[in-house]
Symmetry: C2
Subunit: 431 residues, 2 copies
């Protein structure tokens, strides 16, 4: 399903630079057997096999209920409770999802910032729409979503009354603990769970991602089937023939050679938030102890006319990873023009997707020639199956890569620093 | 108007690290007097004073015409012919501009990629809408916009006939030369110009940015007035008291100390594409000769839950520049809840914007304590005047910063590399 081509990276490494297979093997084994650091949070490794089928069914019926009762779904969440669902919906449905005509509700992501301008604008958009709400928070105490939830809960109660508001509120949170869990039990909200063993950035294949995705019309059976096949394929191959091992080992080897920034590139604008999801996954997993590859992303070909100059000739501290999709559903032919003023007739009759693919190849060659080690991950189609595969590929590679780097890829101690300051400044009890 | 606070950066520099005032002075002088490298392209320096008033009037009447004849405007352009207008519209109108009810047409940006999926989706969105088109390209031969223009020109001719299509097509291109200029003369399109002396990434205050902005309801008189005041303020202060000099000198000093990545941060989601515009401006101006600060951006507080961990504890190669707006128009109060399950009652009655401002201060302190030199640019309000100031501030600082670095901040030789490969692979005559 996923082809990894790293021939654009190997010229930048000598044999001695490669991560020894034994080290990659140990990283993978530690991950699978739970002997590695942070292993309390490796529940995502076998999730595609072990996930709760009855909850999966409840996700589908909740989604059906939301579709029948509402024109819009508000998704209240931040970080791992936000980026995965948004990435999936933009990639599999459209970055213009809320603009296109469709049988499914609009989706608005809120509670991922503290901007009153943003929240009030979304509330205004809902003034004449029926809406439901899915609040996603493990603890229920994260400031951004908690504030948004308070504000929107009031709005719902004013509009639908207590009972109506209750019936339109869906909670995704910890199975047993936490403020949101308590509130859900008290008020009888339908509740879905994020397993204790899965951290936010690894949670897109839990209810955190699956409920909003289903409401938007994403086929989550195919997503999970893709993830399952990826799990089987990548956890059963214990050698450097495993593309996950290759990606993890190559990026760590390049990092040791001074390639300290990884640019994730895709030639489809719909991929923008998939890259944001990837940036959280890798940045939060590896950016610690004063090290880690800095994750960045570009949307191509657009950014060839903005970041392209830097990638081609800037500081040679970059590596590039290109994600590409081979099948094109809706192509557009370049029309012939009687007078060839723009000099484009040499392309007449050719499809944009073909030209896009050539642009990709041409750009990869230029970047490699310019001194940027480049890897390419190719998938057949931009669909649910590919999404499931890609998510599992990147998550597994991230765990292994983090272990090779020697960090805990499953914690995020640094996230507390600003919170501690903020709670003190805001006078939160106990700070 | 703009306050620059660099007290969060100075602790990371010793006196000997600072760029000598004489060097900054020379960079500025070279820029103003046209003695610097690339000075053919410094027409933007006095543009707020010298811009063509009659064309400015024509932009307004063209915008009025577009509003009266169309529900949507297609903006065909890439790089500097795309990011500036999009940045302005998202910042000054809304990132949800096409979703909100408004008296102005929807704006769709096309021709900034080669994705058939993207273009066909936009065309589908227009199936039952009247639309006009603004194609923006200096040469008229850039592949992405040229292809989109051919496709959309056909679509318009089918829908409106040759005459109708012609009357709905607005061209922004070189004053005298180029394919698009010729075509415009041949077909009699209303034409607006990008001065020869202004490169794409410095062109947002030309017709390239101003026409789409005006159609979207942005007050370009206030934009230009802001830019003019900024020009007066910043080109007349010849000392290190000049915030533009300070910003340029600080980031170059930090760069020499190994801070090789600059993260631009803002606490308003509407700023996302302003950051993309900034990334092109600095990345394309300074990313050459194997050097340059790598420009990255975060949307806060959202990305505190994704990139926040890296910024706090990752490789200490980062500097951060925060852009903040002090005035809040639409605030939202945190409601009180009888039972304080989420523990948020300590915030009850406080405005989100206040909390957002505290989060910003708390985060800056945490990042500085974590080893990230941090500067803050504060503006009173997120409005047209501030936009004009900000654009001029960043452009002037970029020219000076590039000269301090010792590069030509006005060329982009590296952008040709992938094009050359692509034209060869596509069999373009002459390649």
């Amino acid at each position: 399903m996923i082809k990894l081509d790293f021939t654009g990276a190997t010229p930048f490494l000598e044999v001695g630079d490669l991560i020894p297979e034994a080290q990659v093997q140990k990283a993978a084994q530690d991950l699978y057997t739970g002997n590695g650091i942070g292993s309390k949070f490796t529940g995502w490794v076998d999730l595609p096999e072990t996930y709760d089928r009855s909850e999966f069914k409840r996700i589908k019926s909740a989604a059906a209920e939301i579709k029948s009762e509402s024109d819009a779904l508000l998704v209240v969440g931040i970080g791992g409770s936000y980026l995965g669902a948004r990435a999936a919906i933009e990639l599999l449905r459209s970055p213009n999802y809320n603009l296109i005509t469709k049988p499914t509700p609009n989706i608005y992501f809120v509670g991922n910032n503290l901007s009153a301008k943003h929240l009030s604008e979304i509330m205004h958009l809902l003034r004449d729409k029926n809406f439901s709400l899915n609040v996603i928070s493990k603890s229920g105490e994260t400031t951004e979503p908690a504030i948004a939830f308070r504000v929107l809960k009031n709005m719902m109660e004013r509009r639908y009354g207590d009972v109506g508001a209750r019936s339109r509120t869906y909670v995704t949170t910890d199975k047993n603990r936490g403020a949101l869990k308590q509130m859900a039990e008290r008020e009888g909200f339908p509740t879905f769970s994020i397993p204790d063993t899965i951290g936010g950035r690894y949670s897109v294949l839990t209810a955190a991602g699956l409920l909003p995705m289903t409401v938007a019309g994403v086929d989550i059976d195919r997503v999970m089937a893709g993830a399952y096949d990826a799990m089987k394929t990548y956890t059963e191959e214990h050698s450097m023939k495993n593309p996950v091992w290759q990606y993890a080992a190559m990026r760590q080897a390049l990092y040791r050679k001074g390639k300290s920034i990884e640019v994730l590139a895709c030639y489809e604008p719909a991929f923008r938030f998939m890259a944001e999801w990837w940036k959280q996954l890798y940045g939060e997993s590896e950016g610690k102890d004063g090290g880690g590859i800095f994750p960045a992303s570009v949307e191509l070909t657009a950014d060839l006319h903005s970041m392209g100059q830097y990638i081609q000739e800037g500081a040679r501290t970059l590596m590039e990873t290109v994600v590409s999709f081979d099948t094109f559903r809706r192509d557009i032919e370049v029309p012939l023009m009687a007078e060839d003023l723009d000099g484009l007739n040499y392309l007449a009759g050719r499809g944009m997707e073909h030209i896009n693919a050539v642009a990709k190849r041409a750009t990869m060659e230029a970047h490699i020639a310019g001194g940027v080690p480049t890897m390419e991950l190719s998938l057949p189609d931009m669909d649910e199956t590919a999404f499931g595969w890609l998510v599992y590929f990147f998550q597994l590679a991230c765990g292994i890569s983090g272990y090779i780097q020697g960090v805990n890829p499953f914690d995020q101690p640094g996230v507390e620093a600003y919170k501690k300051n903020m709670f003190q400044m805001l006078g939160k009890p106990g700070y």
